[in-house]
Structure formats: C-alpha cells, structure tokens
C-alpha cells in the first residue's frame, strides 16, 4: 500500500512551497509533486512607466535577490537601448553581484540547508580533542576549529539546550537514521554554523560599499553606476578587499572542508545519484569579463545547455526557445507561449479533500501557481550545479580547475555531481571560485581607476533610443537563470515580463506529463522514516528554493496573542 507524504500544506496564499510525495512499501518515493506560488503582476505595475525607473519596482519582486532583479531590469533596458556600460561600471556590478553570491551561498549552506546534513544534538556527544584532529583531515588550517574553540561551542550549545532555547533546532528530525556524520564532525559543522552567523555581516557590508544603501541598492542606473566617488576612494576599495579576504578565508578553511567532509560521509548516495533529477542543465551565463557588450563578452559562467548528463556536448541557449506551459498550472490557456506573449489569467481549481480529512493536490489536473517553463520543449534545471556542469562540459578553464580540484581532494569521480550532494557541493565550488575571481576584479578596478579611467556612465539620447525598442536581461541569480524582458514605445514600457529561477526548478508537470526539477529529483529516493521527511527536505533545500517572492506576513498560527493587542479605540 502506498503512503502519501505532504510537506508544508498550503493553507494561505503567500508564496509557500508544498511537496506531495507518494512512497511504496519500501519507503521509496514513486511520485512527487511540487506546488507553489509565483509572482504575478509585474507587467501591470510597470506598464506605462519610464523604462529607466523599472528597476526600482522590479527589485520589490523578491527580498533575497533584490539587487539581482534591480540589475536585470536595468540591463534589459540597456540591451533594448543598445548601451554598453563602461569598464568601471561592469566591474562594480560584478563585485556587488559577486558579494551577493558569497552571502547567499554561505548562509544557504549553513543556516538554511546545513541542518539537513548535520545532527546538531549529536555534537553534544563529541570529544573536542578528537574533533580538532578530525578538522585537520579536511583542511590544512581549519577555520575556528581548535580544541579550545570546539569545546566552547559544545558548552554553548549545551547551555542553550539546558535553557530550552533551541530555536530552530527544537523541531529538527534529530536522531534520524539518515544523518551520517560522526559526533565530532557534527561539532565542527556546528561551530562553523555559529561563526558564519557572525561573518555573514561582512558580505552584507561588501555589497553596501558599492551598492549604496542596503537592502535596496541604488547605485546602478541605466547606462552604468553612480558610485563614482566610492571607486575613486582607495580606502573604500581597500575596505572591500579586507572584508573579501576575511570571508574568503572562511570559504576556503570552513565551507569547502565541511562540504568535502559531508560529501565523503554521504558519498554512497552521491555515487548512486540520489536526487539527480532531470539531468538537463541550463545556464544563461553571467559576469562579463570584458567590455564587448551584451551577450558577446566572455563570461565567468558560460552559457549553454547540457542534456541527459552528457558532458560531451553543450548546446547553445537561444532565449526565443523559452516557452511556458500552463497545463498543470492554475491559469487558462493551452498553447506554449514565449513569456513575452504569455497570458496570466488565473483559473484556480483548488485542492481535493479526501476521506482521511486532508486536502490533496489534484495532480491529474492543475496543481500549482507556477507555470512550467520549457526550453525547446524540454525541462531544465537551473542554479549553481547547472552553471558548474555547463562550464565543465564546455571545458571552461577556470570552472574545470575548481571542479577537478574539489573532486581530487575528495577522491570522487565527476558523476557525484549528479546528485543532491553534488548540487550542494557545486554551490560551494562556485563560492570558492567567486571569492578568488572577485579579488582579481577589485585589483582590476583599482588599477583602471588609478590609470585615469573614471568613467562610470555611458551617455545616451533617451528620446531617440526609446521610440521603439525591445530587450532582455538574461543572467544568473545565485539560484539560477533569471530573465527580464522589456518592450518600450515612445518612452514608455508597453510590456514587461520576468521569469525567476525557481520557476524552472519548482514548476509542476508539463503538457506531456514530464516532471519539473524538484519533482524529478525526489523520485527514487528512499525515506528512512516517512513521519520525518528529512530526505525530501534535503533534496528540495539543495536547490535553494526561493518562492516566497509574494507576501511576507508574520503568521501567528492561531497562538493566543490577545494580551499584546494595542487598544487604539481611544487613541488620539
């Protein structure tokens, strides 16, 4: 008899993600369904506006990738107007976006995903002396993992347990059989969890140096950047570099070693491809390395497509081949249309209450607010793994070096990449690569400015270029390919569309019944305890899901809070 697991029932509209999985008698997932919301309506908000202002509203789509949406929007308009930005502007944008990658990836691994691999309660059983020796196995100079430091962490966690202040740890699936690290390894990872919490502030500061006031960056404009004073100020550049070096040390001596350590302990499931999913990977490409201009420059992350995990062939990406299918999404319509021609007419058909009292997705019909994007009629995974796989298959020198370096250190074959473990490792490999290349970019920026080039903005005749224009900003957010499309007539936006990375990964089945990336990655996974769907969370979290680009309300979940109500009836 098959059993049905539901993770996160959708009870309200705000962008939450729900996974339903069916398991067989051996607790192996036979079918999985992903349902979520998608931001809709940016088109209506931006229609009729001055295209130079779109970024200010487009960045409100998402709270985590605020800056990415901002930049994408600006670049869609620059592409439409055929503007090539100056070198300083390109480098500043790369540095701000690069800092976002470092911030996102480190916080994702330690604070949003790490506890899917690390059993923090087991850290309390660790011997700090043995743990310090263990840390030396994975790094020559381990970050914050001496015997004394580890003992302190152990005591701190013990204190929290004693006080009942376990916060996020209170609801974990501790003791679950699919946790594989030793107590000592768990202690090392816990120490890094706490250290990363402190350090992540530096990454936020880095973004603010050239991005201006956080959390909403303001220093990018159509044509370039406005932070000309910051790039001329050597102390700003040197502060950026100092913060970057500090963060980079953590990446090299904590993050990478922890991933190697976990990757080795979980190697069996990496080797058998648990969580591999679609095996189709797409990268739009990003981070321009020269000033040739849009879609012509050499890129840090090359664009391309790898199909069926075949690393011997890379296909090109042509944005015209992107379509969206609504067969299983709560919208009207049947033809697969390019996002630019797409219609978004809701047709909500609801869930179905079954005899057990639970409401289930009607998986044969429509079951998600996310449309299913297709590339040339195929399903694609996007994100760090896609970027690393495409770069590796293309023989990109830098990516190949970092991927091979990692695999060699862990004595692992390349096929481990095609798994949940591999997806999580690819993010770490990318982070190390980014931290190193950013050091080169800071120096390049400093040298360029020292050489007398202070240009940060390319002039353009707005009235002339905006009579009739169309463009797109297609690049890579930390979570994967992000595209903004814009059409301008007589100085005003007439059409605007955005396809966010998580739509590629979290989408439902398509018109041929083919699964989306999350769905495909779950099928075949064995769940140790169906009451604790740890393996499902582990795989879905490995994609770094971000679907909450809708509303952000604090939910009291029915808790009695009446005594905190403020009486305003007699307020002045």
């Amino acid at each position: 008899m098959s059993e049905h697991i539901i993770v996160d029932p959708v009870t309200r509209i705000e962008g939450h993600l729900r996974i339903e999985a069916k398991i067989d008698d051996n607790n192996v997932i036979t079918d999985a369904y992903s349902s979520s919301t998608m931001f809709r309506g940016i088109e209506e908000i931006l229609k009729g506006r001055d295209p130079r202002d779109c970024g200010l509203l487009a960045m409100r789509i998402c709270g985590v990738c605020t800056g990415t949406h901002y930049q994408r929007s600006i670049e869609a308009v620059e592409h439409a107007f055929d503007i090539t930005i100056p070198k300083n502007a390109r480098l500043v944008r790369n540095l701000v976006q690069g800092a976002l990658y470092l911030h996102d990836h480190v916080v994702h691994f330690y604070h949003l995903h790490g506890l899917d691999w690390v059993d923090i309660t087991k850290a309390l059983e660790a011997d700090p002396k043995k743990a310090a020796a263990e840390a030396l196995k994975w790094a020559k100079t381990p970050y914050g993992a001496s015997e004394g430091e580890l003992l302190k962490v152990k005591e701190r966690v013990a204190k929290f347990v004693k006080q009942g202040r376990l916060g996020p740890f209170a609801k974990g699936y501790w003791g679950n059989k699919s946790y594989k690290l030793t107590p000592e390894q768990n202690l090392i990872a816990t120490a890094h969890y706490l250290q990363a919490l402190d350090l992540q502030r530096d990454a936020a500061k880095m973004m603010a140096i050239f991005g201006g006031k956080m959390p909403h960056p303001q220093s990018f404009v159509v044509g370039g950047v406005t932070c000309v004073q910051d790039i001329q100020n050597p102390s700003r550049i040197s502060l950026f570099k100092t913060l970057l070096k500090k963060f980079r040390a953590f990446i090299k001596d904590a993050y990478i070693p922890d991933i190697l350590m976990a990757g080795t302990e979980y190697a069996d499931e990496a080797l058998d491809g648990t969580g591999a999913g679609l095996m189709n990977f797409m990268s739009y490409g990003d981070f321009r390395l020269d000033d040739t201009g849009f879609y012509e420059s050499e890129l840090l992350f090359p664009k391309g497509i790898v199909k069926n995990g075949d690393l011997s062939k890379v296909y090109d990406v042509d944005q015209e081949k992107i379509t969206e299918d609504v067969t299983h999404a709560w919208y009207k319509g049947s033809d697969n249309l390019h996002p630019f021609d797409g219609k978004t007419e809701p047709e909500y058909t609801g869930l179905e209450k079954k005899s057990d009292g639970y409401a289930y997705l009607k998986t044969d019909e429509k079951y998600s607010w996310i449309k299913s994007p297709l590339y040339d009629d195929e399903r694609m995974e996007v994100g760090p793994l896609a970027r690393m796989v495409v770069g590796y298959a293309k023989g990109d020198e830098r990516i190949t070096k970092y991927v091979n370096g990692f695999l060699k250190k862990g004595n692992l074959p390349a096929k481990v990449l095609f798994s949940t473990v591999g997806r999580t490792a690819a993010r770490a490999i990318e982070t190390e690569l980014m931290a190193d290349v950013m050091l080169e970019w800071v120096d390049e920026l400093a040298a360029n400015v020292a050489g007398g080039d202070l240009s940060t903005w390319t002039e353009f005749d707005f009235d002339k270029v905006s009579t009739k224009a169309m463009g797109y900003g297609m690049a890579e957010a930390p979570r994967g390919g992000l595209g903004h499309w814009v059409k301008v007539e007589d100085g005003q936006v007439v059409n605007y569309q955005a396809v966010v990375p998580s739509t590629w990964n979290a989408a439902p089945r398509d018109y041929k019944g083919r699964m989306g990336a999350y769905e495909a990655s779950l099928v075949g996974t064995k769940v140790a305890d169906p009451k604790q769907p740890l393996e499902i969370l582990r795989t879905v979290h490995s994609f770094d899901p971000c679907i909450a680009c809708a509303v952000h309300i604090v939910d009291s979940k029915g808790k009695e809070l009446g005594s905190f109500k403020v009486d305003t009836s007699c307020a002045v």
Binding site: H103, L112, R156, P215, V551, I553
Partner: protein, 179 residues
C-alpha cells in the same frame, strides 16, 4: 542603546506595504538622535539577521496574521514569536520569525519587538493601502511612537510633514537619479 526600526513587507501587494510606508513616515516626519535608524527592509528574508546582531533593539513593522478584525494592531515581544517559525518543516524561504530563531543562538542578540497590523487585502497587486488600513495608519504610527519613547528614543516632529498618501505615492512612482 542602538535602536533600529525595520519596515518589512512587499509594497506590490496592497496592505502588505504598511510596514514600509510606516517606516518611511517615521523617517520623514521626525527628528531623532543618532542612535536610532529607520530602514525600509522590504522583503528582507535572511538579510534581517544583520539587524538582530548589530543593534540593541529592533522594532519590526509588519503585517500579522491573527484571527482578529483587520486593522487590529499588536505589539508583540520576541519571546512570543519564538516557536512560531516552521523552517524545519517547510521547504520555503525563511523570514522574520525563522531568522529570529536562528539568531537566538547568538551570544548577543537584540531585543526584538514586532508591531503588526492585521491586513485587509494582501492579494491584490496594487501599490496602495485599503481604506480600512489607511484609517488605522495614524494609530499604527502612534503605537510606534510610543514604543520608541519607551525605548528611550526622544523624537521631535518636523515642521513640514508628509502625509500617508504622499508617502504611498512616492513608492508607487519612484524615479531614478538621472545623470
């Protein structure tokens, strides 16, 4: 004591923008001492952590989902919010409460208060507030002002003031710097 007011919410979804408008209103209409900062946090997610770490007191302005009439205002201490997070059981992105829980492990963390209002409409895509919430805007501001006074943050109203409508309008029609 370093205090920060963080307005949280998404201005694209009607009443969801109340925290943002209120924080802007407080920023524009009052003079403060140096130790108070006002931030438009937008839909911050995990980037909220930095504020919990860098300040002594964080006052979050947001919408709350409580079974009560829309427009009802709550001022909730962080202890009551802990435990409401669902990070471990869900697959979605983390927010105000989840970040609070993660940060509760720090040696030092700000005292956090949530001033929240029960919204009427957070589904329509529209940069505006419903009449119901607009009618409560002044009360919402008064609760914030009182909380700031209780936190030892003296504030002086500015002579020239912006109305709630003017603030919303500025968010609905933003303009970028032109060279």
């Amino acid at each position: 004591m370093k205090v920060v007011i963080v307005g949280v919410g998404n201005i694209l979804f009607k009443d969801e923008g109340i925290g943002i408008y209120a924080s802007k209103y407080l920023q524009e209409n009052f003079e403060y001492d140096d130790h108070l900062e006002v931030i438009d946090g937008g839909t911050l997610g995990f980037k909220l952590m930095t504020y919990y770490q860098d300040y002594d007191k964080v006052i979050i302005l947001d919408t709350v989902s409580i079974k009560d009439e829309s427009g009802s205002i709550y001022n909730i201490p962080s202890d009551e919010l802990l435990g409401l997070g669902s990070y471990r059981q869900t697959a979605h992105e983390v927010e105000v409460v989840e970040m609070l829980e993660i940060c509760s492990l720090l040696e030092k963390m700000a005292e956090v208060r949530l001033i929240g209002i029960v919204p009427e409409d957070i589904e329509s895509v529209d940069i505006d507030l419903t009449d119901k919430i607009k009618g409560q805007f002044d009360n919402f501001i008064n609760v914030c002002v009182k909380e700031l006074e209780d936190s030892g943050c003296p504030m002086t109203p500015k002579a020239r003031t912006l109305s709630c409508e003017q603030i919303i309008d500025a968010y609905a029609n933003p303009t970028m710097e032109r060279e």
